[in-house]
């Protein structure tokens, strides 16, 4: 089932792509994550040029987040106002990110920056998840919500200007905060080829203090627009979005996610988070290992101004 993909300019096994989509889809259905952080390194691993992997994966995340956001929308778990502020930041960030990406690619350092981003952010998020869920598992029961607890702690972040009321999330905070988070995750989204949910979700819970029920739906809602922006800009600037590969991945992941959701429903929240944390850490270690280990091949070829 070898197919020639004209944007990637190489032939790949279509069944392998479907399988990758299925496997990552299974995990994303199980954990309720986008899976971009797994898919992009896997695509690079099977030989796709990193630039094509990132551009194509952004395209796939558009599809994955639409179907996810739709499900949350039906349950009323999307805070549109918050989502719009986040996505304005996301547009700014992802546009900056694609410009940065194009520049780094010309310098020949895009592979390095992609790897460092993966190691840093997956390393931090994975460690936090593992530690947090290990603690929860040791307590052996869900953390009790104490009666007199404040909705969230007040810090200097709440002294920022341009306060805005977000009714659905029951928040009255500075618009600069979600805007800033949007910009930051937007940059990462463009460089790493991910939706950025793994940073966005904790940021919404711990920095914004949003109710957990609203977090995933709102995050997915804004990811649609940010990854759509990345897909568009990568197509225009770098011609590195392979729609054919993206479609095969989507097809696989849709099927995989069905099974993943069924398995995920049988596991407890802490167990899921611990497992996801371990997978995230494993990816970080794998990518990190390639950075520090002596490469088998020291030299690489590139067309001047072409794919890395």
């Amino acid at each position: 089932m070898q197919f020639y993909f004209p944007i990637a300019e190489m032939s790949l096994n279509a069944l392998l792509l479907l399988g990758l989509g299925g496997g990552v889809g299974f995990l994303s259905g199980m954990f309720g994550v986008g899976g971009g952080f797994l898919m992009t390194p896997l695509l690079i691993f099977i030989g796709l040029p990193p630039a094509v992997a990132v551009g194509t994966e952004a395209n796939q995340v558009v599809a994955a987040s639409v179907s996810g956001a739709l499900a949350h929308w039906r349950r009323g778990n999307v805070d549109i106002k918050m989502g719009v502020v986040l996505l304005i930041g996301g547009f700014i960030g992802s546009t900056m990110g694609v410009v940065l990406f194009t520049w780094l690619r010309q310098l020949g350092q895009i592979d390095l920056v992609i790897s460092i981003c993966y190691v840093t952010f997956l390393g931090i998020v994975g460690s936090l998840m593992v530690v947090e869920s290990a603690r929860a598992l040791m307590r052996n029961r869900p953390a009790p919500g104490s009666a007199g607890r404040k909705l969230h702690q007040h810090t200097w972040l709440h002294g920022l200007p341009f306060k805005m009321r977000f009714r659905r999330s029951k928040l009255y905070i500075s618009a600069l905060l979600p805007l800033g988070i949007g910009v930051f995750v937007g940059v990462l989204s463009a460089i790493m080829g991910v939706g950025g949910g793994f940073i966005m979700v904790p940021a919404m819970i711990y920095l914004l203090g949003m109710p957990t029920a609203m977090v995933v739906g709102t995050s997915l809602f804004q990811i649609i627009f940010v990854t759509a922006n990345v897909t568009f800009l990568q197509s225009v600037n770098n011609q590195t979005v392979d729609v054919m590969i993206a479609l095969l991945l989507v097809l696989g992941s849709v099927i995989g996610a069905q099974f993943g959701t069924m398995v995920g429903a049988r596991l407890r929240g802490e167990q899921l988070r611990a497992l996801l944390g371990l997978i995230v850490l494993a990816v970080a270690i794998r990518v990190g290992w390639d950075l520090v280990a002596m490469p088998a091949e020291l030299y690489s070829l590139g067309l001047i101004g072409g794919l890395s």
Binding site: A63, S67, L112, F232, V243, L291, L303, I304
Partner: protein
């Protein structure tokens, strides 16, 4: 049936006569099984048959050259504990593809200077550095370039790859890997006698994308903005469809 045989015999006669005329005029004629390589959905590389005849004994060399372009060789260097792309050298006029097949090893019938003159053999390729760098470093990077091209099956040498029959007819198979770049290639055939080329033929080969693949590639590069918008719309539709199916099950 008989008529068909007669026509067949006549045709063979004409072909033989044409061959004789051509041979009288030129010491060497050659042709390819196809002058086009079409990259389509199922493309996993291609094989062409190059064949022809000579007006007598001699050594036949086939050289296939791909389009020339500028390429950059990068070397990973250890900096602060991690391996990053450090030094890089750009080389000009690098053939994207280069293949030599000959009836005997090159050194057996031509001397070094002649081979250099006609750029026959991977070692004779002129790959000038465009970046300023010390000579020994340029040599090191050039060696790496050639090695990587060889590993990618884009550069190859096949001494003995040309089969000669009856001292007159010759044939060779030319293999192109799946990663063969598009562009205009040339297939040169030389007939060597007493260390000198006495006959030469040149046939161009076109490598191009065809069908849906070509259309997508062209579209992505010529109308990048529309391609981007369509990519987004396709993904939105795919995601929406998946969402609807999800709800039903």
């Amino acid at each position: 049936m008989r008529r068909a045989l007669v026509i067949g015999a006549a045709c063979a006669g004409i072909a033989a006569a044409a061959l004789a005329v051509a041979q009288a005029a030129r010491p060497l004629i050659a042709d390819l099984s196809s002058k086009q390589i079409k990259i389509s959905t199922g493309f996993t590389g291609a094989q062409l048959l190059l064949f022809g005849s000579t007006d007598g004994a001699g050594d036949v060399v086939v050289v296939v050259r791909g389009p020339r372009r500028d390429e950059v060789v990068r070397r990973k260097e250890r900096t602060g504990g991690i391996w990053i792309n450090g030094r890089s050298i750009e080389f000009g006029g690098v053939p994207a593809y280069y293949h030599v097949a000959s009836s005997r090893p090159l050194g057996a019938f031509a001397n070094r200077n002649t081979l250099m003159e006609y750029r026959i053999g991977v070692a004779t390729l002129n790959l000038p550095a465009l970046s300023a760098a010390p000579d020994d470093l340029v040599r090191e990077f050039r060696t790496a370039l050639i090695r990587l091209k060889r590993e990618g099956k884009l550069y190859s040498e096949s001494p003995g790859g040309v089969t000669v029959m009856d001292g007159r007819l010759f044939r060779t198979e030319i293999t192109f890997p799946a990663t063969v770049p598009t562009g205009t290639y040339s297939a040169e055939v030389y007939l060597f006698r007493q260390g000198e080329p006495v006959g030469r033929s040149l046939t161009p080969i076109t490598v191009r994308k065809v069908g849906l693949e070509a259309a997508i590639f062209e579209f992505a590069h010529r109308h990048a903005a529309i391609y981007g918008i369509l990519a987004v719309i396709i993904a939105l539709l795919a995601g929406w469809t998946a969402g609807v199916i999800f709800r039903r099950s």
